[in-house]
């Protein structure tokens, strides 16, 4: 009887975990994906890394302690570490360079003109971002890709909130100028 009771309880707990994970996935997967896409230009690799991040999160979901960190901080820490592992393992420099074939951007002449212009701008922006320092790329990715506040970014990177604000402002100015030069 006790074992049956406990099995019923664990069934309900399992269903609860599944529901919670589904909701967290819906909220954070696009942000994690976009964060990684600021750092990696190959869309296939972006998908692979995003998958790895969530597989790791799933494996360790029972160890997540909300008292220690918010879920966004936790999942983005996993994302950062996974990216670092990827860079460490990747011996091919071309994964850092623009690979037009695998960008996943449609250059079909059948696309509306607006779509073509947008795709070109995305390529130019990613090219400019790749010229930034590692820290600048990281902060820009977390801000615009991960949609994080300066405070959250500061907590992840171990910087002060003020410092993060300064770096974002200066980096965006730098990107603005690079982008303008690239478009000429």
């Amino acid at each position: 009887m006790l074992i049956l009771f406990l099995q019923t309880v664990t069934d309900k707990v399992s269903q609860g975990i599944a529901d919670i994970f589904a909701r967290l996935y819906e909220e954070f997967m696009p942000k994690v994906y976009q964060y990684i896409s600021y750092r990696i230009v190959d869309s296939n690799v972006v998908e692979d890394i995003t998958s790895t991040v969530f597989e790791k999160a799933l494996t360790n979901i029972n160890k997540y302690d909300s008292d220690k960190a918010s879920f966004s901080t936790w999942i983005f820490s996993i994302a950062r570490n996974t990216l670092i592992d990827h860079y460490r393992l990747s011996t091919k420099e071309k994964t850092r360079q623009m690979n037009m074939v695998s960008l996943g951007l449609d250059n079909d002449s059948g696309c509306p003109e607006e779509e073509l212009i947008r795709n070109e701008e995305i390529k130019t922006l990613k090219s400019c971002i790749s010229q930034l320092s590692s820290q600048e790329q990281e902060i820009i990715s977390l801000k615009f890709g991960g949609e994080m506040t300066n405070r959250q970014i500061a907590k992840i990177l171990g910087l002060s909130e003020t410092n993060v604000g300064v770096i974002i402002y200066r980096t965006v100015r730098k990107l603005r100028d690079k982008f303008k030069d690239a478009e000429r």
Partner: protein, 391 residues
């Protein structure tokens, strides 16, 4: 330096407001700050969101892994399973500790130990006091007979635990070969039926082209079905609990039963609990402010009505899509008072947005419904539709 530092702060505050979709008055007099903010907004608009296919497939795979994880914990026999359960669930651990303390205390009381402890020193016990014995506790043997491994492990999942009425449901099924040989499956994928829990009867059966396939030893194959929540007559099914069943699949001339490792349910949420009584297919389009709104159909019930639409193209600023891009609308029946619509929900597609409004007011009469979309995110317009209601 102070001036520079103030500019950093001003930029951060304004940027956060802009990214949150708030209306911001651009700074006057500081061209550098203004152009930097404008570029930041441009950067935010050039994001590359994940494709819906990737998002759905990854979610399905993670759901399967989660189910397998949970099933793996339950399958471990006897003490190992129990030990893992206690390690994973601190509340259960605490309950188990109290139970153990309670059982031990009960045993001690039954054995009279508490009485002996309370005996004053120097008391002479009568001879023949029985030795203290504790009745051995025997736990029921929890033998779990391992099930015979089937030829195929069948797992299934949906992309979400529940769906709103009218939303597309994606159902994924994976068959894994547990044998040491390749398996030739005839007529793959298997026939899948969506069953209504209340009646245990099928509401829809997928009839798709099938072929023979071979699955290598240890290999798994997956297939996805897309269900639009309609039954065999094309009518939207009522909200409630549904599950899926597979027909037997032929393996080298023999029928192999396909049973899911865990049941696969599709829960359709109820907005009003009412079932659809009447549907009108509309296909009316209006273009304004660069957007084309197409009303696709009107579903009516005793609890209210639903208006299904598509909006093309997708609004460029998908930032709002993360927090809630609203398309507001109002309606009027037979020229009466104009009222705002109520609950609405949206779903992004590759090229646009599917939008559904629900109005908790039943439509009576057979005159005319005027439905007007008044804004799409920050864009205003007049997308007005006149819908004749036939009796």
């Amino acid at each position: 330096m102070t001036g520079q530092s103030d500019k950093d702060k001003q930029f951060s505050v304004i940027l956060d407001d802009l990214l949150a979709g708030k209306q911001v008055i651009p700074p006057v007099g500081d061209e550098d700050l203004r152009t930097t903010l404008a570029f930041a907004l441009k950067m935010a608009s050039l994001q590359c969101p994940p494709s819906p296919e990737f998002a759905a497939k990854l979610q399905a795979r993670l759901s399967q892994e989660l189910m397998a994880q949970e099933a793996g914990k339950k399958a471990k026999p006897g003490f190992t399973w129990f030990k893992n359960l206690l390690l994973d669930q601190p509340v259960l651990r605490a309950v188990a500790v109290f139970l153990v303390i309670g059982l031990v205390s009960l045993g001690m009381w039954r054995a009279g130990i508490f009485g002996l402890i309370n005996t004053p020193p120097g008391t002479v016990l009568p001879t023949g006091t029985p030795a203290i014995t504790v009745a051995p506790t025997t736990s029921p043997s929890a033998t779990i007979t391992p099930a015979r491994t089937p030829l195929l492990t069948v797992t299934g999942t949906t992309t979400r635990p529940s769906y709103n009425p009218g939303e597309v449901v994606q159902i994924g099924v994976t068959l894994k070969n547990n044998t040491n040989n390749a398996l030739l499956l005839e007529q793959y994928p298997p026939i899948l039926s969506v069953m209504r829990e209340q009646t245990r009867q099928p509401v829809y059966t997928f009839a798709i082209a099938r072929k023979n396939i071979s699955i290598s030893r240890g290999e798994a194959v997956s297939y996805w079905w897309t269900w639009d929540q309609r039954d065999e007559q094309g009518k939207l099914v009522p909200p409630g609990d549904y599950y899926v069943e597979l027909e037997d699949i032929d393996f080298t001339g023999q029928a192999v039963k396909l049973e899911f490792l865990n049941p696969v349910h599709v829960y359709i949420n109820s907005l009003t609990g009412a079932s659809i009584e009447k549907s009108l297919f509309l296909n009316q389009s209006v273009t304004d402010s660069g957007f084309t709104v197409t009303l696709q159909r009107l579903e009516m019930s005793g609890g209210g009505f639903w208006v299904y639409s598509s909006i093309l193209p997708a609004p460029d600023n998908h930032l709002d899509g993360q927090t809630g891009l609203n398309a507001t609308a109002n309606y009027s029946l037979d020229g009466s008072w104009v009222k705002d619509t109520g609950i609405s929900y949206r779903q992004y597609s590759d090229i646009g947005m599917n939008y559904v409004w629900f109005v908790p007011e039943p439509i009576t009469g057979t005159g005319n419904l005027t439905f007007t979309v008044t804004s799409i995110g920050k864009w205003t317009g007049n997308w007005q539709f006149n819908i004749p209601l036939k009796g």
